[in-house]
Symmetry: C2
Subunit: 360 residues, 2 copies
């Protein structure tokens, strides 16, 4: 390409080494005079370092990978904002890849990020139930980590990864208890897709609270659905064919919005005829009418926290068992036990919930 560090050095009358040290920092000092000359020369020539070459020489890039289902989904959008802001603070660029909940695509994307040698990968896309898919992903991630890459999971990806975990199960249980507290006894649930672990996790929380209260939740009252407007809408329609719940629990806000649409279409009043709750507290949840009762998940913080974890200096255990601070170059796999950050969720009561009809 155009202006190289060599040009800058020549113009400043110094060696390549000095120019490099002056512009891009190093443990070695450069005399003030020369340093100033180099900087001036760089500015005059409009020099910009050539990142791929730096990456090659340093054996380390300045990029972060974020793996998610869909950037346009506000859930992931907010996470990505948190992550990329934290990344920017650390001088990293964020590469966002969408998998659309397809394990094969996810695998390919992990390989791409690995090939790019992203410093770290944030797994915002949730874990799969399918064991074979999980195994293959683990394998690819393992290879990445073996070369010094860091991985942080934002959902349950097994115990071997650093994780930032919202209290999915507990949050769902609390939410359900809130509905029980209002007097509801007939529930219907729209979890996410059955193949994702989050769905099951949250559903488990719901069951937990219902069991506690001795309320039954038959299979006819559960209808899995994609995390989408249409998914939520269709699932709600199917549920209403076979039961008459007083409370509908959608385990994602986007799904809840679809549910609201379906209910409105059927002329049902929310919360007069039926209460509806969501999960995640995406930005528009509060602005719906009725405003959606939901579980606040600290999405932005999750993204930021994940990056913090990923960039945390990583002690490595030498064969002798003593921690040593080898740099990234001689990087071996990470031998620490994984860090886990548990983030609390919070039930947010809004206008979409009320006591069941006929309650006094």
């Amino acid at each position: 390409m155009r202006v190289t560090l060599g040009d800058v050095a020549r113009r400043a009358g110094v060696s390549l080494a000095t120019a490099s040290r002056a512009l891009n920092g190093s443990d070695r000092n450069v005399g003030d005079v020369l340093a100033a000359r180099v900087r001036a020369s760089a500015k005059e020539l409009g020099y910009l370092p050539y990142a791929p070459a730096q990456a090659l020489a340093r054996a380390s890039t300045a990029t972060l990978g974020v793996l998610l289902h869909d950037v346009a989904d506000p859930y992931f959008g907010v996470i990505t904002r948190g992550a990329s802001e934290a990344a920017a603070e650390a001088g990293l660029l964020t590469m966002v890849v969408s998998t659309f909940a397809d394990p094969d695509l996810e695998l390919r994307n992990i390989r791409m990020l690995h090939a790019q040698r992203a410093r770290a990968i944030v797994l915002a896309a949730s874990g799969y139930v399918d064991e074979e898919a999980t195994r293959r992903l683990d394998e690819a991630l393992g290879a990445y980590r073996a070369e010094g890459g860091r991985v942080v999971a934002l959902t349950d990806h097994g115990p071997s990864y650093d994780s930032v975990r919202p209290a999915n199960r507990r949050g769902a249980a609390d939410l359900t208890r809130a509905l029980l507290g209002l007097g509801h006894r007939r529930f219907a649930v729209v979890p996410g897709p059955e193949r994702l672990r989050v769905s099951l996790d949250r559903l488990l929380g719901v069951r937990e609270a219902l069991d506690e209260a001795g309320v039954a939740l038959g299979p006819e009252a559960v209808e899995f659905a994609e995390f989408s407007h249409e998914g939520g809408r269709a699932a709600t329609a199917r549920l209403l064919e076979r039961s008459r719940p007083t409370a509908l629990i959608a385990l994602s806000d986007v799904g809840a919005v679809g549910a609201l649409a379906e209910l409105r279409g059927r002329g049902l009043d929310v919360p007069g005829d039926i209460s509806v709750v969501g999960f995640d507290d995406i930005p528009c949840a509060a602005q719906l009418a009725p405003a959606l009762t939901t579980v606040r998940v600290p999405l932005e913080r999750m993204g930021a926290e994940a990056v913090r974890l990923a960039l945390e200096p990583r002690p490595r255990t030498a064969p002798g068992g003593i921690e040593d601070a080898t740099d990234g170059l001689s990087a071996g796999p990470d031998t620490r036990s994984p860090r886990v950050v548990d983030l609390p969720t919070e039930t947010v009561l809004r206008a979409s919930t009320a006591p069941p009809p006929g309650a006094f």
Copy 2:
């Protein structure tokens, strides 16, 4: 790092050159036997190409940059989805950087993307009114283009860039005409921030339609606001202090949502007391209650189209004036006249608009 092409080559008993050609394609052929051996060897070793090294050797990366205000804003989220999907199809990884409508940050981010030698930059963040800021951005983009980088603007960034342009002005005019058609004569407008060109562009459309109809729009009826829920809410509050419009035109959906919240807070009925319209048709616009009348902007398509434009083979004019198809290596600045793709918008009438109160 770990497994290099050299390892693969050695294991397959071939030269580095052959291994490279077999795995990563080239204009030269490799015999079937050797090619198979190389592929097998790569698979067995779990080889993944080292992208920074490839970039250095090829003088070209496999990344795309998208510059936007905020990933968590659905407007940009949807654009990004379109762009990154198109990029993925072309084998590119997408780097997303947020500028939060700050020209300085934008400048820094352009430099970073330049340093990464992203193949192309999609400017989804809108142009600034400030001339000095614009000049500096142009300068940085110019340097990037001088080295062969491609730039596509999604909003008005001046005539020198390839652009994908939604019909902002026309869309706003049509929207306004729709309100006029319903009988409205007293308007209030909440454009975006005054420093962004889109805001002015759309406002111009509104004025155009009002002028046509001979309806006045005094300065007291216009209140600029950030593209955000809170911005729209606060601006609406201020507007209502000093005027009693029958129609409120928010020139972004996120702003309109804020406006709805403020109106609801004041006990005003939409559309009974006042009609509200937005702009963009972000996914949740249709799911609000009342569903928002707005202008559909083909966001996803804009992103995809931008990438298509950016990746389009680029003829270059030789000094003699004859187009030649030199490859990217000897890249000079792009001498074609910029491509412009105009995308139509469409007014979508929903429940948030009705004839003004008292109309018969």
